[in-house]
Amino acid sequence: MKHHIEGSQAVAHTVALCRPEVMACYPISPQTHIVETLSRKVKAGEIGNCQFLNVESEFGALSVLIGASAMGARTYTATTSQGLLFMAEAVYNAAGLGLPIVMTIANRALGAPINIWNDHSDSMSMRDAGWIQLFAQDNQEAADLHIQAFRLAEELSCPVMVCMDGYILTHAYEVVDLPTQEQVDAYVPAFEPVQVLDPQDPVSIGAMVGPEAFAEVRFLAHHKHVRALEAIPRLSQAFQDIFQRRSGGLMDTYHTDNAETLLLALGSVNGTIKDAVDELRKEGWPVGSIALCAFRPFPSHALRHVVQDAKRIIVFEKDLAVGMGGIVSSDVKMALQGLPIIVDTVIAGLGGRPIPKASVIDTVKQACLEGLEEPHFLDLNWDEINRELTRQQAQRRSGPTAENLLREVGPPGTKPV
């Protein structure tokens, strides 16, 4: 049934229908309404056999889930930003142990400077941890991906992060078709763990592995992700069969046929990008776009197939590999090596900076007509940058960069951006 609902509430409602058995969450900012609502649902007895643990930290949250998952429980948590960093050691352990935990990341920037707003730095910091990472374009997909995530995680015995843009999706009210319990039950089977701690049949999980076998264990983790490349589109199709709508899959393509230039991005900015594609097409520009849903595993083969006739790909990404440039675009370049396709990197939307349609359109035209420097930063305030660089050159004790810039532009929220 269609509801007009906040993104976080839609996800909480959907996760509850997936019948999680243990949820462990740290109730501090940065957090979202998702776990707040889920804790209420558990207390009200709305989620059958489920325990909600209020833990002492994000590290504690995921560590509890590692234990619970190893005992054969369906497990869930959510975090964001610095909370994910504080979890980092357990994030790698959950994947290394092959435990099918599902976690929502409400994507936000990482400090310093402190910033509570949206970008993808948090998820990107854990991209090599061994978790599957799926990015939602809108709140319908954010809700739907959680249903697919439980089935995918448990089929492969691999943890899954569902990444949704903090604020832009988590705090946005829009129409979401919420599933019924019957639909979710038909799609997500009861959890049959691959490995389980059972006193009747004791095993140990988490052994030390030396140089003799460590590489092999890592290869098998990689192999699991290769299998996920087949499972993700299959489970997306199975989802469509039951729920009658398309959600998830490796990627969502928009006007890619006969497009010379393709815009590629993760997450909610794809909405604005599709509007930009429509406007550019009206003006006669042969453009299309690709919303990458699966970032880990990276769908290299599928991407090569989709873009093979294009001349240029412009990657819009809400992250920055400092000292290098694009994270997503580096993966795109690796996937397309050998093909005569130009790949541009546009760093955009950092720390909640809006990505206006007009800026997307201008950037596409500039790339096609003059080319872009690599990497290209969208809508940078060069006056402020040059002022600060001059200040730093003029005096050694030039002060903290963030505070110097704030003095010029004013504190957060006082000016429209």
Binding site: W117, Y167, G271, T272, G352
Partner: protein
């Protein structure tokens, strides 16, 4: 597509106003999106919220740069924040104030923008009467509905009941009813 921008201050229910409007449009059978500007959430700080209403699904995630509708919940913002930035040439503007456009020193703006429809509504006073607190948000939403018909009064009333169950919903419903009467008696429907 109708793009709405709401200006107010932290604690005045600006974000709730955007949510109510979107919910009302949804109850009218339209697609609707509401989201805040994600500023620093301090009481009294300028806050902006956005709403889009359309017959087609809404994909854009950019802030509303060119509003067709501007709701200003706090008239002290008029000369502090550039509330009129990017205003569409034939925009509808509703300002919460007991004063009229002339007293707010906006006559020049109205002359320079002849297609803009600007009204003032004493939404805080009308709310005070029923709620005992000057929350202008419900009145501004009700005033917009009554003056333009772009969302129906029935849908606004339904959203108020959904958003505020029980006594608070009834009181806010009374605020909306008072605003409908005020608009009928004092302001021409545009």
């Amino acid at each position: 597509m109708i793009q709405i921008r709401i200006h107010g201050r932290g604690g005045q229910g600006v974000v709730t106003a955007a949510e109510l409007l979107a919910l009302a449009a949804f109850r009218d059978g339209k697609e609707a999106q509401a989201f805040p500007s994600f500023g620093s959430e301090r009481t009294g700080a300028p806050v902006t919220a956005f709403c889009r209403i359309n017959s087609q699904p809404i994909r854009s995630r950019e802030p509303v740069y060119h509003p067709d509708v501007l709701l200003i919940q706090d008239s002290t913002l008029l000369h502090q924040v550039d509330v009129f930035a990017g205003l569409a040439s034939s925009a509808f503007v509703l300002i919460n104030s007991t004063r009229d456009v002339e007293a707010l020193r906006l006559t020049d703006f109205v002359i320079q923008h002849p297609a803009v429809q600007m009204h003032t509504l004493p939404a805080s006073d009308l709310a005070l009467k029923h709620l005992g607190r000057p929350f202008a948000n419900i009145g501004m939403v009700a005033g917009y509905a009554a003056l333009t018909g772009e969302v129906s009064k029935a849908a606004v009333n339904q959203s108020i009941t959904e958003k505020f169950p029980g006594r608070i919903g009834k009181l806010n419903g009374a605020v909306a009813a008072e605003v409908y009467d005020y608009v009928a008696a004092n302001l021409a429907k545009v």
